[in-house]
């Protein structure tokens, strides 16, 4: 697999200041929202939708450009198909193993909305990206989060705000290493009958990723829109026509049902005209709506105490076409919203040739769908079977899609003043116009600088965030107040992006870490006499202490290395640290040398001798070479002249030349050898140390 991450060659991703945002979908388009966020080695995917105007693999975002196994966290903003339509595919058919979060209402509705989508898709089973079973299996992998609840995953902190738009829609605020990013998903700053307006976060983000569906448009006033809608419906039924309103089973449909129910209530002359809410899942869907009242606005929550506003007086459920008696004028709300297939498409095809009938497009339509196409008022349309039919019914577009308009977006940005704005989820031209308008708003403003980006699909926006590294001093180290320029030393503990400094003893108080000790043991084969070894060790180390009351002969060398004489070997033991390791090395060398050099047997072996070494600057003048050799007794050693050292034992005299370290002895050859070996050993033992 080709390397997809352009990691800095020198700086590891965890420490890098580069933040990357890459849309794999919804970049200069509407549909298949999927935005990748990379920072400090963490990878987050925001939304995972499909393109409603495309089918099969075409409809997916460009997932091939990332490795699903590397994504740590997946956040879904709301249940619309273009934000979660690819989720079952992503969870079940790729190597993704991170965690997925959405709000409770979103998860409940996701289950039924996608089930509806799978049923109404009229492409063959092989071409479907996933099945009902995949959808069911994906449910257990999805975790839920409450609004305003803070969660932390892999060092990423996140929480969500109400976004309006549809039930359960959330805007996610993400914090990594102190840098905050707000992803709005789809949002609306206008309250409607059952949803609250999007909240303005109290925390200001450094980066804002926002939708730009309506670009620079300004919506008409809510009352005007509702009036226009109701009047249009009234006109259609008045002229004996059928009124078709294509909507998905859940979402804006509920808002329209509330509006129509109220209008019918106020117009008794319409009570004979039926309103149908057609969806095979209608009952399940309404149950969900009736459950998640606490995600709706105060008005609905108050109304629920009186009577359930979602129990409608004038609207009946329609399971399918078979239950529908098409006699006389009626109003039918059917899915899907963009009429690609399913019941809304069937009804449209059977009604479009009669000029009394009318269709009201009540939501945003994506490029490539029939709903979008008929808004251009064509002469004829092509049916699902390929037949051509004349389009005579009236087409009205009254958008209730609850997206932000230019006024709302501008106000939202003004309240937050994020230094960077990334536009997604908008057609290319709309987005470009919005970008220009936003830049113009702030170009003369010296205090506020806002950079606006509108990346295409797969194009990355790279931003740099230089963080200040802050370490908190804790515990005993913090007892004394520090002065500027004072050196503090301790152990630096890094947990996610927090740094603390403390002493080793405090480690167990503040962390799960504790200080441990490593003891080294080394066994060296040794078959010689232990007494010789001990005397040689005395030559090396000076003080060698015999350990009392030990079963086997045990000595302690350098006060830290324990040597135990076992059968056929010696066992060295010491606490590991750099100094002790060096001592252990020296001791091991002596053991090995004694083992391999039997001629160095000391005939005076029983004599305990201490080789005190006070040698300084061996390279210097020989008279500085002071070596008190007690090996043969003090009175045996003589400095006859300033150059040479004389040793007299039992009548034989040996001459030691300190510079060349040559030993001469005319009388006693074994003595000469012994002294020579001792002098050499002394020299070798001294030179590395001093």
């Amino acid at each position: 697999m080709a390397a997809k991450r352009k990691a800095d060659a020198t700086v590891p991703a965890e420490e890098s200041d580069q933040l990357l945002i890459r849309p794999l979908g919804a970049g200069q388009e509407v549909g298949r929202s999927c935005i990748i966020l990379e920072f400090k080695g963490r990878k987050i995917m925001l939304d995972c939708g499909i393109h409603p105007g495309l089918e099969g693999m075409d409809a997916l975002p460009y997932i091939d450009l990332i490795d699903p196994a590397e994504i740590d966290l997946l956040l879904i903003s709301h249940f619309h198909l273009d934000h979660c339509g690819a989720l079952p595919w992503f969870l079940q058919k790729t190597s993704f193993k991170g965690r997925t979060f959405m709000t409770h209402a979103t998860k409940a509705i996701y289950r039924w909305l996608l089930s509806d989508y799978v049923k109404v898709s009229n492409i063959s089973a092989d071409d479907m990206l996933y099945t009902e079973t995949d959808l069911e299996d994906s449910m257990e992998k999805i975790e839920t989060i409450n609004f305003h609840e803070v969660k932390e995953v892999a060092g990423i902190k996140f929480w969500c705000y109400h976004a309006g738009h549809v039930l359960g829609a959330a805007m996610f605020m993400i914090e990594i290493a102190g840098v905050k990013l707000l992803y709005t998903g789809d949002f609306s700053r206008q309250e409607d009958r059952h949803l609250m307006a999007a909240e303005i976060p109290s925390v200001k983000p450094d980066i804002l990723i926002t939708e730009s569906t309506y670009g620079t448009h300004i919506h008409e006033k809510r009352e005007e829109r509702e009036a226009r809608f109701c009047n249009t419906v009234h006109d259609i039924v008045n002229r004996e026509g059928r009124c078709l309103i294509p909507v998905f089973a859940l979402g804006r449909a509920q808002e329209l049902l509330l509006i129509l129910d109220e209008y019918w209530q106020n117009h008794p002359e319409l009570h004979d005209i039926p309103i149908y809410y057609a969806s095979s899942l209608a009952r399940k869907c309404m149950a969900v709506y009736q459950t998640y009242i606490n995600a709706m606005n105060d008005k609905i929550r108050k109304a629920i105490n009186v009577n359930n506003p979602f129990v409608f007086k004038h609207i009946s459920n329609l399971k399918s076409m078979d239950h529908f008696d098409d006699i006389g004028p009626s109003v039918v709300m059917a899915s899907p919203g963009m009429m690609q297939s399913g019941l809304s498409r069937e009804l449209f095809e059977s009604w479009c040739t009669d000029r009394r009938n009318g269709v009201i497009i009540a939501g945003y339509c994506v490029e490539g769908t029939l709903a979008k196409h008929i808004m251009t008022e064509p002469e004829e349309i092509t049916t699902m079977s390929g037949q051509k039919l004349p389009l005579k019914m009236s087409v009205d577009y009254i958008s209730f899609s609850a997206h932000t308009d230019y006024q709302q977006t501008s106000e939202f940005i003004r309240a937050l003043k994020p230094p960077h704005v990334i536009l997604v989820h908008g057609e290319q031209n709309e987005m470009a116009r919005l970008k220009a308008a936003l830049i113009r708003e702030y170009e003369d403003n010296d205090e506020v600088h806002i950079e606006v980006h509108n990346p295409r699909n797969t194009e990355a926006v790279t931003l740099t965030f230089r963080g200040e590294k802050l370490a908190k001093v804790m515990g005993a180290l913090a007892d004394k107040k520090c002065a500027q320029g004072q050196r503090v030393s301790g152990i630096l503990v890094k947990r996610n992006f927090n740094y603390h400094i403390m002493t080793p003893t405090d480690l167990s108080n503040y962390t799960d870490l504790s200080v441990g000790m490593v003891t080294q043991t080394q066994a060296i084969p040794f078959t010689g006499p232990i007494s010789l070894l001990v005397s040689q060790l005395r030559n090396l180390a000076g003080d060698v202490q015999q350990v009392e009351k030990a079963e086997k002969i045990t000595v302690k060398i350098f006060e830290s290395i324990t040597l135990v004489h076992e059968a056929g070997m010696v066992l060295l033991e010491w606490v590991a640290n750099p100094l002790n390791d060096m001592y252990a090395d020296a001791v091991a060398t002596v053991v090995l040398e004694v083992q391999s050099n039997p001629s160095a047997q000391n005939p005076h072996g029983t004599q305990t001798t201490v080789f005190k070494i006070k040698a300084r600057q061996l390279e210097q003048r020989p008279d500085r070479f002071v070596c008190c050799s007690d090996m043969f007794g003090d009175d045996c050693v003589n400095f006859k002249d300033s150059r040479n050292l004389f040793v007299t034992v039992d009548g034989a005299t040996a001459t030691i030349d300190p510079e060349t370290r040559a030993v001469t002895c005319l009388d006693d050859e074994p003595l000469r050898e012994m002294i020579e070996v001792a002098v050499h050993r002394l020299f070798e033992a001294l030179t590395p140390v001093f």
């Binding site: 697999m1 091939d64 450009l65 190597s95 008409e220 297939s341 490539g368 979008k372 087409v395």
Partner: protein, 112 residues
């Protein structure tokens, strides 16, 4: 009958393309894969990468020998506007300022 095994980088398993001859040209391989996966949109392209060496096959390189395993990546075609073919096979030009029918009132797209 010669085979080439291909796998989309995001997917988990390999599929096979069958053809005649010792090798297949890059263009033919892409067409075959797009046909099998029912990729119709005019705005996406495929990147074909050798599964062993991780090198991309380019147009000049030309031919891929039989028995190879390749990794496929779906990428957008740069420079082409993402217009998609609707199910009714109508082709129309995106005219965002004109499309909004008269029924929809107050949009002030032109004033800005």
């Amino acid at each position: 009958m010669a085979h080439i095994h291909y796998k989309f980088s995001s997917k988990l398993s390999y599929d096979t393309v069958v053809f005649d001859g010792p090798n297949i040209s890059l263009t033919d391989l892409k067409k075959q894969i797009m046909g099998r996966e029912k990729l119709r949109a005019g705005d996406c392209d495929l990147q074909i990468i050798n599964a062993q060496t991780k090198e991309e096959f380019t147009e000049d390189g030309g031919h891929i020998p039989k028995g190879s395993s390749v990794i496929v990546r779906r990428i957008p075609l740069i420079g082409v506007k993402s217009s998609s073919n609707s199910k009714t096979n109508h082709k129309y030009v995106e005219r965002s300022d004109v499309q909004i029918p008269k029924a929809f009132g107050s949009h002030r797209a032109h004033t800005l």
